[in-house]
Amino acid sequence: MRRSHEPISWSLFGAGGMLLALIGPGLIVSTLLLPWLTQDPQALYVSFSAGLRHPLGTCAALAVVALPLYHTAHRLYHGLHDLHITGPGWLLGGVFYGGATVLSALCAFWLLAL
């Protein structure tokens, strides 16, 4: 029997959902305020890139991008089913979970390029 991907995709969905519940609204308020609070974009660039170059900062930023990507991909994938939008499983799965994986890999690549 073919193994289901559901345990893995649900775990990532659950982790992303918990992360978004814990820090989602706070993060959005922070980025809304960010440009107005910033006096010196150059100084903010220096402190952000220093913070994200630290291993803990890299891991935190990757989690904050990758887990919500998997969470939203999972919800939208199942939402299509609710809306009666069907298609080949490999295609829909590839677009949603594959897309989240590719974007997470890009995020890791850009973080390591800092």
């Binding site: 993060l27 980025t31 809304l32 609070l37 939402g79 009666h84």
Partner: protein, 135 residues
């Protein structure tokens, strides 16, 4: 001739019942949250490109379209947080011989955690970036 019964569900099944509409609204929070996550991802990309690109990204956050996106994402994130935390005690059932925690305590703990983390994050942003404090 074999003629199996085929259950049919109209495409707009969720429109006619308030509980289903609330369910679909909850699921729909994923779309603005996905777009907001892409906004963060572009920020990391621009940060990797250098200070000029990062400055342009900061300015881009202030454009009307991005302010509207963030506003919708904030509403979606609040609805997500409320509905997610409400579901936690139904999924996280701690009821074994060794450890038993009542669902209302599990709920209260997660409500406090979500409130604390979100307010803490906003507080940290204000504390670190408040112009008068200057870091």
């Amino acid at each position: 001739m074999r003629k199996p019964w085929q259950p049919r569900q109209p495409r707009d099944w969720w429109l006619h019942n308030p509980a289903y509409r609330r369910y679909m609204l909850r699921e729909a929070t994923a779309l603005p949250l996905l777009l907001y996550t892409l906004l963060l991802l572009t920020g990391i990309y621009q940060l990797a490109r250098g200070p000029v690109a990062f400055g342009a990204w900061l300015a881009w956050l202030q454009t009307p379209a991005m302010l509207v996106l963030q506003g919708i994402a904030l509403a979606a994130a609040l609805l997500h947080a409320v509905t997610w935390v409400a579901l936690v005690p139904k999924i996280l059932v701690i009821d074994s011989d060794r450890l038993r925690i009542a669902p209302r305590h599990v709920l209260r703990a997660h409500q406090l955690a979500a409130l604390g983390c979100n307010l803490g994050l906003i507080g940290a942003t204000l504390w670190l970036l408040w112009p008068a404090g200057g870091h």
